[in-house]
């Protein structure tokens, strides 16, 4: 792990994703009385409680009942409101998954699903509370926009931006102990437009969520060894920024995807589909949780185990640089 970035100690002045979510939502609520909140006994854990403190008549806590959570959110949206529904990621995509699909997405309702404790962020809670399936599930739901901010500042921007998304919206954040990627909010964030954080010509890392910072740290470390790595923050998983992927293919011809998700069905597969459909060749590796159940442990230990930290990412970059790819000097004329 890069120096100065740990998951359990961070600059307290820089708010975490979860904290920022609740704060921004409360701010938005001041100017938009259509915004309401719904949660399932996780008002405190998901930080939507900040909104409820400010607007007690606009936060509905349905108790430990996630199917009802999303059904109620759909019903609220049907009356013209913009509900923010919050629970842990695993319960959003699976326990209440059919309600998300049938009540919210099928009816194309503007429910904003803010799923916290995603990936391995609730490490010690164990596999029941890890969530490495949500990208795959939410991507496959028609009408759904899927965003995975890399830190609290991106979360703030995504929460503000999602109000203008006309249909359903899924955002996954961690538990709130993630170190920030950005120093402040002075950067451009557009849903559907990837963010290039580091230029490079040997290989491109395309990452989303918590691993973005680690990818950036890895790129910086690798630069010192003379390896030039581009880092793309693919914060919007759906709709994916195909142009950013294809630019990476054309410019670097080697792509590593990094995600806190099962290697099946998530960012890696989304990027792979763009590449395959383009007809262009590319050396390619997906880094994520193998197709198995994650073990118990503190997040930093789990990220190290699954090579989602800067060290693991740098190692994988080197492996991928050693992969042979078919040379084709004229490939830019294939358009």
């Amino acid at each position: 792990m890069a120096e100065g970035t740990t998951w359990t100690t961070y600059d307290a002045n820089k708010m975490t994703s979860k904290e920022i979510y609740g704060k921004v939502l409360a701010e938005l609520g001041e100017t938009n009385d259509k915004i309401v909140g719904v949660t399932a006994d996780l008002a405190k854990s998901t930080n939507i409680g900040n909104f409820g403190d400010r607007f007690p008549d606009r936060l509905f806590n349905v108790g430990i009942a996630e199917q009802n959570l999303f059904g109620v959110a759909a019903g609220l949206a049907k009356t013209g409101l913009i509900p923010f529904a919050s629970t842990f990621a695993i319960f959003a995509c699976l326990r209440g998954g059919e309600q998300v699909r049938t009540d919210i997405a099928y009816q194309n309702l503007p429910v904003k699903i803010i799923a916290t404790h995603g990936g391995l962020s609730f490490g010690p809670a164990g596999t029941t509370h890890h969530c490495t399936e949500d990208y795959a599930i939410m991507r496959a739901i028609a009408n759904m926009t899927v965003v995975i901010p890399a830190d609290g500042f991106e979360t703030a921007k995504a929460v503000r931006a999602c109000i203008d998304v006309p249909g359903p919206f899924y955002m996954r954040v961690g538990r709130g102990f993630e170190p920030p990627l950005h120093d402040d909010e002075n950067f451009e964030f557009t849903i559907g437009k990837a963010m290039q954080l580091h230029e490079g010509s040997d290989l491109t890392i395309i990452a989303c969520g918590t691993p973005v910072l680690q990818a950036l740290e890895a790129a910086k470390d690798l630069a010192q060894e003379g390896i030039s790595v581009r880092v793309i923050n693919m914060h919007t998983l759906k709709p994916i920024d195909k142009e950013a992927v294809m630019n990476a293919v054309m410019d670097t011809r080697r792509i590593l995807t990094v995600e806190e998700h099962n290697v099946i069905g998530g960012l890696g597969d989304a990027v792979a589909a763009v590449i395959a459909e383009s007809g262009k060749g590319c050396a390619f590796t997906k880094l994520g949780i193998p197709d198995e159940y994650s073990v118990i442990g503190y997040p930093e230990d789990l990220y190290a185990r699954y090579k989602l930290d800067a060290t693991g990412i740098a190692e994988t970059v080197k492996e991928l640089l050693g992969k042979e790819i078919e040379a084709d000097e004229d490939w830019t004329d294939e358009d």
Binding site: N68, V72, A74, G75, L76, K78, D103, Y106, Q107
Partner: protein, 277 residues
Amino acid sequence: MPKDVSVQKLKQKAKELRLNIVKTANFAGSGHVGGSLSCADVLAALYFKYLNVNPEDPAMFDRDRFILSKGHCALAYVPCLAMAGFVPMESLEHFNHYESPYGMHPDSKKVRGCDASTGSLGHGLPMGVGMALGLRYQKTDAKVVVLMGDGEQNEGSVWEAAMAAHHFKLKNLIAIVDRNKMMIDGRTEDVMGIDPIDKKYEAFGFEVITCNGNDMNEVDAALAKAWSNDTDKPVCIISQTEKGFGVKKFQGNVKWHYGAMNSDLFKEAVADIEAMD
């Protein structure tokens, strides 16, 4: 406020709806005739007397909301919406056909006047709770009516929503259970018993009203009572019905949960309904 419509007129509407149900089943090739016929009286009373809805302005904000939580009975719901002027009567001829707006389960994006897409059981009451909360927050007195099946009561999400309806004191919510006592695999009490269903809703904090759901006098009285609910509790009407009511061969016959009629049976069904009071 409910409209001033006589019980006799509502009976005629229910009879007309039953005829349209079997005709639509005939256009469609098959359908959930049993559960559609059992709830025809309640639907007729709602759409021709109680619900404040407007076919000229289906999205009117202050309208009452209706959710057909037993979505498989779109075969009754869509003809009812046609009779109420929301969709053209002749469009029923395309029910279930390729690219038709009407299938076995209603799609709110395609069926004019339909407030919720349903079909997966146990989804209507949670959405109804959300609508009731949203309408109250936006300060309208509109009511939300959710018509559920009795087999549907097996779904856990029904009880999650029931708990919330009482907790949030949703006196603007009316749940109706079409208690026709049958589900696909047989009698409800054999497959998965739900009785005493009235006591269950009472225990969950509902104001419970029981009626014979195939007797328009009783349906009208039950809905009148529900509409004038002066408690701070949600209402549940247990509508005791007979599956397939109105057609002798379907009545109380579990085989007619879903089916297709040949031309002789279709004629027989029409004749049975025409002979009703």
